[in-house]
């Protein structure tokens, strides 16, 4: 147990190895790829469960293993792994939900020619996500953060031959990159101020009081402390990853990926990485100057920003979700909205509150997406709400599971974990001393959530078959329940959604208590809790009731017209286009970007290319000159020299006739001359 706590990196290693093996697996080895991928993640789940069990020991805080990575000058960077309650809970959730989604994928993509590649990417993603949650260094976290970004890009663009999918993948990647720039800047700043990127390092880590005390003592523009400025930059990264305003635009488009991908990455795990980051950095986010140099408060500028952004996103996305026609886009906007709620939870109620909602949401949102996948699979890849209908008869298991997820998301009381975790968030927001604004927004968001989920149920499962199932070519092939391999994960997730509620109630908040760590004071049931339970029940009931009432025609017949769209076409249109944020970005940022690109291309082509051409011509000219010098002067000189030598050699060789007498005569002549010279010389002496 202790071994595993120190070697928690083994958990992400398993899917990483699987991904590496699948990368070199030939495409026809489908069975091998999926078995390996599922097996590795299931083994990782077992390890994660063991690690989780280790953290249940009384008084357990965290186990850290750091080791130096490399040194460059004064800078030493470290690897670091951490096992604490939040990473252990995330590990269990990711490996469990991930395994179920992997299993579901074997059914959903059974006919896809690139099945092998899909499981390779999924494993890569799982490895990166698991690495992210156990990272004890912002650098390691950032590396994994980017790896999940890459995996997300690859998986959104899995059907890259579809132009929409390729564009969505690019959009997701670029938008999250814009966010990552903030996180990267935060990382550089943090490193230059504290000299370390390790979170916890027995007193020397950047989230420990020594570093935080020095950080809160310094201020930058507008009186922000360094902690607040760094936190805001980090939150910018988190907002990009978690689809918060104004960087939410990529998440709905990411639904172009296969549905299991949406379930795993764009609902349950990756998009929650931003929330996880704020929870991980919570000491930094909540640090503020105080009596002894450092205190913690949940009303720092960073947390106030996070709460407001989260609340605004929660309502904004919920409103948009009301007017979407695409089954998956509704769920995507719902995810954005729920992520906003998680941020509110982290900012107002503390990391444990946000993470509880993250964990319960992971289960029921994965359930909803897999349910949607099952519907899409059954209806031959039709995902327009207005062309589905009456599926409760053809897909009873999917219907039941989906209903559980829908009720958990809407916040139907008592049995559903979503209700309790959302209630904890609301409770945190209500008790927040800075403002009641986020609380009000969250309640409105909760009512809207109930509304759009009921609308979706009416269209998809209730009423009579519309559009695709009623009239067109597939009519003779009625929607059929998905194979066992797809329904079993649905049922398991539905059961988990129900069972999780047992540990989330305010009466026995075991999960929240566990996540908050042993030092935190356990939340207690007060009079306010009862009032809040009633209030949130009323909000949910209002949303559900209004939708039930408004969508009478839809749930009673095969009508495919949306009553809201008919009654308020203008408003509905605006909502359907998500307030035109995409159009706004297209008209401003994208156009500016394109203008800049055009200008840069022009500059490149005419100025830089001109310079390059000039140098090219100069180089050619110099080459020609030197060629002439070589050819004519040098070579000519050498040639002439060689010719002269050869000529003289030919002449001289005539002397050598090979006959001894001639040589002797020459020797004699030489001797005579020598003797005469010697004689003359002696005479002179």
């Amino acid at each position: 147990m202790d071994f595993l706590a120190h070697h928690v990196w083994l958990i992400p290693l398993l899917p990483l190895v699987a991904a590496g093996l699948i990368a070199v697996t030939p495409r026809p080895q489908r069975q091998f790829a999926s078995s390996l991928s599922i097996g590795a993640l299931a083994a990782a789940f077992l390890l994660a469960t063991l690690a989780f069990a280790a953290t249940l020991a009384p008084g357990y805080t965290r186990t850290i293993s750091n080791l130096p990575w490399f040194t460059a000058g004064d800078l030493t960077l470290h690897w670091g792994w951490i096992l604490d309650p939040i990473s252990a809970a995330m590990l269990v959730m990711i490996t469990f939900v991930g395994s179920l989604i992997f299993i579901f994928s074997t059914g959903y993509l059974a006919e896809d020619p690139n099945y092998t590649r899909f499981f390779g990417f999924l494993s890569l993603f799982a490895a990166a996500m698991l690495g992210l949650v156990i990272a004890n260094s912002l650098l390691v976290l950032f590396v994994c953060w980017e790896l999940v970004g890459v995996a997300s890009y690859l998986l959104i663009g899995f059907w890259f031959t579809k132009p929409a999918a390729a564009a969505a993948a690019k959009k997701a990647f670029i938008t999250t990159r814009i966010g990552d720039l903030g996180l990267f800047t935060a990382m550089l700043w943090l490193n230059s101020e504290t000299g370390t990127l390790l979170f916890y390092d027995s007193g020397r880590g950047c989230l420990e009081s020594a570093a935080l005390t020095s950080l809160v003592a310094q201020t930058t523009v507008a009186g922000l402390t360094f902690t607040a400025a760094i936190s805001l930059l980090a939150f910018w990264g988190a907002a990009g990853k978690s689809g918060q305003l104004p960087l939410h635009v990529w998440l709905p488009d990411a639904m172009e990926g296969p549905t299991p991908v949406s379930a795993l990455i764009h609902a349950a795990t990756m998009v929650a990485a931003g929330v996880f980051l704020t929870a991980r950095l919570y000491p930094l986010l909540s640090a503020t100057p105080g009596a002894e140099g450092l205190t913690f408060s949940n009303t720092t500028p960073a947390l106030i920003t996070i709460a407001w952004v989260g609340a605004a996103t929660a309502v904004f996305a919920a409103v948009c979700a009301v007017a979407q026609h695409d089954l998956k886009r509704v769920l995507a906007y719902s995810t954005v909205s729920q992520l906003g709620l998680m941020f509110v939870g982290v900012a107002t109620g503390g990391p444990a509150v946000g993470l509880v909602h993250l964990l319960t949401h992971a289960f029921f949102k994965a359930l909803l997406f897999l349910g949607a996948g099952s519907v899409i699979h059954a209806c031959h890849h039709e995902q327009d709400l207005r062309r589905l209908g009456g599926l409760r008869r053809g897909l009873p298991v999917t219907f039941a599971a989906y209903a559980v997820g829908m009720m958990a998301l809407s916040g139907v009381p008592i049995l559903f974990s979503g209700f309790w975790s959302k209630d904890a968030v609301l409770h945190g927001a209500l008790a927040w001393p800075a403002s009641k604004g986020p609380f009000v927004l969250c309640v409105i968001g909760a009512a809207l959530t109930a509304f759009y989920m009921m609308r979706q149920m009416c269209f998809v499962f209730l009423g009579e078959p519309r559009g695709v199932n009623a009239s067109d070519a597939h009519a003779h092939l009625p929607p059929h329940e998905s194979p066992r391999v797809m329904t079993v994960p649905l049922v398991v997730l539905a059961l988990c959604t129900l069972l999780l509620s047992a540990v989330c109630t305010p009466f026995w908040p075991a999960l929240e208590h566990y996540l908050a760590g042993p030092k935190a004071t356990p939340p207690s049931v007060t009079a306010g809790v009862w009032g809040l339970l009633v209030l949130s029940t009323v909000a949910t009931a209002t949303g559900l009731g209004l939708a039930w009432f408004a969508y009478r025609p839809v749930r009673g017949s095969a009508s495919s017209a949306d009553p809201l769209a008919e009654r308020f076409p203008a408003v509905f249109g605006v909502l359907n286009r998500a307030f035109g944020v995409d159009a706004l970005y297209a008209a401003t940022l994208t156009r500016w970007g394109r203008g800049l690109g055009t200008a840069a291309a022009w500059f490149d082509r005419w100025v830089w290319a001109g310079l390059v051409d000039l140098f090219h011509t100069l180089g050619q000219f110099t080459g020609w000159i030197s060629g002439r010098v070589d050819e004519d002067a040098l070579n000519g000189g050498f040639d002439a020299g060689c010719e002269a030598t050869r000529w003289s050699g030919r002449r001289l060789s005539l002397v050598h006739n090979g006959q001894a007498p001639r040589y002797l005569r020459i020797v004699a002549l030489g001797a005579t001359v020598f003797a005469l010279l010697l004689f003359g010389w002696m005479e002179q002496k």
Partner: protein, 103 residues
């Protein structure tokens, strides 16, 4: 004219005729004879300088002449062997047939 000068004059004549034979004649045997003449001119010098030199009691000149005779004998053996070999190769004993070293 004293006896030494007469001897030296004779040896000069001998050497010149030997050299002339070597340089001018083609027949290898005559060339060999020329070489022998030059050697013996040198021998005559050894004897003359010894006999009329300052120290005729020591047998120095005689020793040198005896060595030179031995060398001349060896040289004649080698020379004749060369000539035989040349004859076998070219069926002539003229030295101008051996021109393999022509440039």
């Amino acid at each position: 004219m004293n006896p030494l000068a007469g001897c030296l004059l004779l040896s000069c004549l001998l050497f010149a005729s030997g050299l002339g034979a070597v340089l001018i004649r083609r027949n290898a045997i005559v060339v060999l004879i020329g070489i022998e003449l030059m050697l013996n001119a040198a021998n005559l010098n050894f004897i003359a300088f010894w006999r009329y030199g300052p120290n005729p009691e020591a047998l120095t000149g005689l020793m040198a002449a005896l060595f030179a005779l031995a060398i001349a004998a060896a040289e004649a053996a080698v020379g004749l062997a060369l000539i035989i070999s040349l004859y076998r190769r070219h069926h002539r004993s003229d030295i101008d047939v051996a021109e393999e070293l022509k440039g």
